[in-house]
């Protein structure tokens, strides 16, 4: 963080990247052996993982559709990873062809890949930035060119804040970020929690300590507090599959097995 902005980020392919591991969980091949090795180990320990990631991805899709239905046409996807399958701009532009999306990630490979697949899409932009520095993010020329902060924006922080440890003050980052948003903006958030499968959390955390972004699981209360300054829309912070399911009638079995909480808040 103290590094001057003109000193480049390192590209370290000797460590697994959470973005590429996530892609593997989703069935993609945008990953390297180092990523797959870690993902296979994780799945061996915890066979539910691919289903959990799919559930998270499905929440992202439903949440984008929901806020688009509320009239939101600007999206800031922070921690977007490798947006190959089920990406935000496709879901958003299905609802509103004019929708604009900025993908933000700190992983230089994920950013390079995003740029490659989004070349030619004028309503999208890709920015390499750190969510812990929201001011710098908002000042980025691509963000300024794509997003009109005078109008409501949906900020997506889907499965990203559990990679921000407490000492980096994620709540503070959200507060600073929220301060720049117009009223009526949305915060879409999902977050890993140890509450669903406490016996799994330890070994999982250990696996992720190999990556440059180790995990911090948080309780439902802590995750709810991340919405300070936003009004939670119904049904509040719930297990991933329970947030606005596609078929409300079909009750998901054991939703806590996803061990991920999700919620959407609206800025007052």
């Amino acid at each position: 963080m103290e590094r001057p902005s003109w000193v480049p980020a390192e590209v370290d392919l000797s460590r697994p990247s959470v973005a590429r591991v996530y892609d593997f969980y989703l069935g993609g091949s945008h990953n390297l052996e180092i990523d797959r090795r870690m993902a296979r180990e994780a799945i061996a320990l915890w066979p539910d993982l691919p289903a959990i990631m799919q559930s998270n991805r499905a929440f992202l899709r439903r949440a984008v559709r929901y806020v688009a239905a509320q009239g939101i046409d600007q999206f800031l996807d922070i921690g977007s990873g490798i947006p190959t399958v089920g990406n935000v701009h496709e879901a958003a532009q299905q609802a509103n062809p004019e929708a604009r999306v900025v993908y933000v990630d700190s992983d230089p490979v994920a950013v390079a890949h995003s740029r490659a697949i989004l070349t030619g899409n004028e309503r999208t932009a890709v920015v390499q930035a750190d969510l812990r520095e929201p001011e710098a993010l908002f000042e980025h020329p691509s963000v300024r060119a794509t997003i009109d902060l005078a109008r409501p924006v949906a900020v997506l922080m889907v499965a990203v804040l559990h990679f921000v440890p407490d000492e980096d003050r994620p709540q503070d980052a959200i507060a600073r970020l929220g301060a720049r948003l117009a009223p009526g903006s949305y915060l879409v958030l999902s977050h890993a929690s140890a509450e669903g499968r406490p016996e799994m959390a330890g070994s999982h955390r250990q696996l992720y300590s190999r990556t440059p972004t180790p995990m911090t699981m948080r309780s439902r209360d802590e995750i709810e507090r991340l919405f300070d300054g936003f009004e939670l829309v119904d049904p509040g912070v719930v297990w991933l599959p329970l947030w606005h399911p596609d078929h409300p009638g079909e009750a998901e079995q054991a939703p806590e097995r996803t061990t991920g909480y999700a919620g959407v808040g609206r800025k007052l």
Binding site: W6, V7, P8, A9, E10, V11, L13, R20, Y25, L26, G27, G28, S29, H30, N31, L32, P50, A51, M53, Q54, R57, A58, R61, I82, T84, V85, G86, N87, E90, A91, P108, V109, A110, V111, A112, H113, R115, A116, I117, D246, H247
Partner: protein, 716 residues
Amino acid sequence: MSSGERATPASDGRIGAVGEEEQLRRLAKQWAVAVAGTSYVPLRPDQIDDLLLGLLRRMVAAVLDPRGSVETVGAEVGSALIDAHFTNPRSLSRTLGVLLDVGPPAEAGGRRWNDVVAAVAEGFSGALQERALREQEEILEAAAHAREQAREALHVSEERFRAVFEGATIGIGIGDLDGRILEVNPALVRLLGYPVEEFRRRSVQEFMHPSDVGRVWQLYRELIGGQREHFQLEKQFLRSNGESVWTDLTVSLLRDGQNRPRYQLALVHDVTAIRQLRHQLEFDAHHDALTGLANRKMFLAQLDELFRQARDGVRVGLCFLDLDGFKAVNDTLGHAVGDHLLISVARRLEAVIGGRGLSVARLGGDEFVVLVPDTSGSAELISLAEELLAAVARPLRLGPRQVQVTASVGVVERPIAEIDPAELLRAADMTLYWAKADGKSQWALFEPERGAKELTRYSLSSALPAALARQDLLVHYQPLRRLADGALHGVEALVRWNHPRLGLLGPENFIALAEESGSIVALGRHVLQVACRQAFAWFGSATPGPFVSVNLASRQLREESLVDDVQQALTHSGLRPEQLQLEITESAVIGTDPLTGQTLQALADMGIRLAIDDFGTGYSNLIYLRRLPLHELKLDANFLRALPGDDGIDSPDVHLLASLISLAHLLNLTITAEGVETEAQVALLSSLGCDAGQGTFFGAAGPPDQIGGLANVVLT
């Protein structure tokens, strides 16, 4: 489906009849359930159902159409699954399981169905492989691109750093911990004058300078040892041409990623010019701009330093020189000539003392001082003073003019243990004054006894205003009694100075000083107010009755504010004018200016009593005395002191006394004898008709609480 009526559901679950839409939907659903969760598919469940239903229809149609290519359609279906992101091998195995379980449509042969299902597997695998390879290619390309970008950014940042390094005006050098110099920037090359190659050949230690304090290399060792992150100091370096250059040097320790000390970074800033400026400013602060001699500040600092470091038994000397009549030079020849003169004098004084290792300072104006830190005695100082006088007195050419000036010198030469810097300066000042007062163009040597006397005067005079403010000045009272009945005639107010060091001082010690310095006005006003308040406290405003008698110095009489001051003292105290007597000396009134006469008249007109104090000691002008609006004469104590014993009643002194008493009465004045000490004196004075007496016989002067009781007793 072309022929719905032929389609009938087979009892074993096979597609019994083509066109059974309901049955196809059920099968699609079954398929969707089987593949659900095998891979992430970004579709809603109903969209997945529709997708699979469509694929199923195509397969059934292909099987039923004898001309259709089951291989092609099967491959397309497998590929469509991959496109929808059913990318997991399990998606395929589940798909195959469902399709084989369903079996061929009733009218078609099982072989054709098996062929289409096999083609699905082939198409799926082929598409998956293609997709995986494409994605691998994409991610590797992205990684390569990211690396390339990072490299580019690194290159840019390195170039930027290089530009900073090359372009910095501050010298930058990087060395390893063994002191080998690895990199130097052009600014450092310019600063020290060695080519880059020479820097690389040399080690940091070779940049030692003869003037380096030991601390520099101590700090350096601490830094190299990792005990210190950086240090900064001013250090000299030798340039290639042998010159020394002053720099502000900061050396920092650079650590690697594991926090191990690796390199040292030196930032070197040329401060030679800044130091010169600083020295110039320091010089300016301590030197006289006109003559370049040390100024007063510098001289005082030298003097303090000398006293601070003095050893026992050392004697110190000062020659304090002041030009005679310098003001006249300035006034008649102009300031430019005056300045020239001062410069010339400065040079001549320097020439005299130069060979002796002494220094001369200009204290201001035309005052110069030579300090002799270690003298052998006053003879040495006197001979120096004579040389200085002679040097100044030599004729001087100032432009077209030949000018000759003289100077006076005050010489002080004392053991350093017996004097402090301030006393030394005061003594020099005083001695210079003696030299001037004795006729100028000469030196005078300080004499401690004469000095002590004058010093007391000097210090008392300067301390008086503060003493007044601190209420250290008290008023004592002495009774005046009527000789006829012993009743209280009045009280005389006598000022006393309760000096913190010298004790209680009488007016004779400081009134004259106060008159010289002018503080008599404030002092007199103070005494008047205190005395009037005290008198009112004792006597109220009852008249006739005793008065309070206050002395006026002649300087007060010439003060225009006197009448107002007296009026205010009365008003504020409540005392009536008749209860106040003002004592003035003969000398103060005799031959005085008309103003004094008017002042006395004004006071008398107010109803105030006026007395002549110490009568008979001045050269009284009886004519003038006659014209003054007086009430009383106070006979000087010397008349009584001169009287012989009881037997000498007919002595001339007694006659003189009798005459003076008669004279007073002739002028219609009351007369009080001062200095009455014995009963015999009282008897004599009584017999001569003297009105009142004052002296130890009737009571010494004392503070109001001592005299108060006495006054009251007599009053009642």
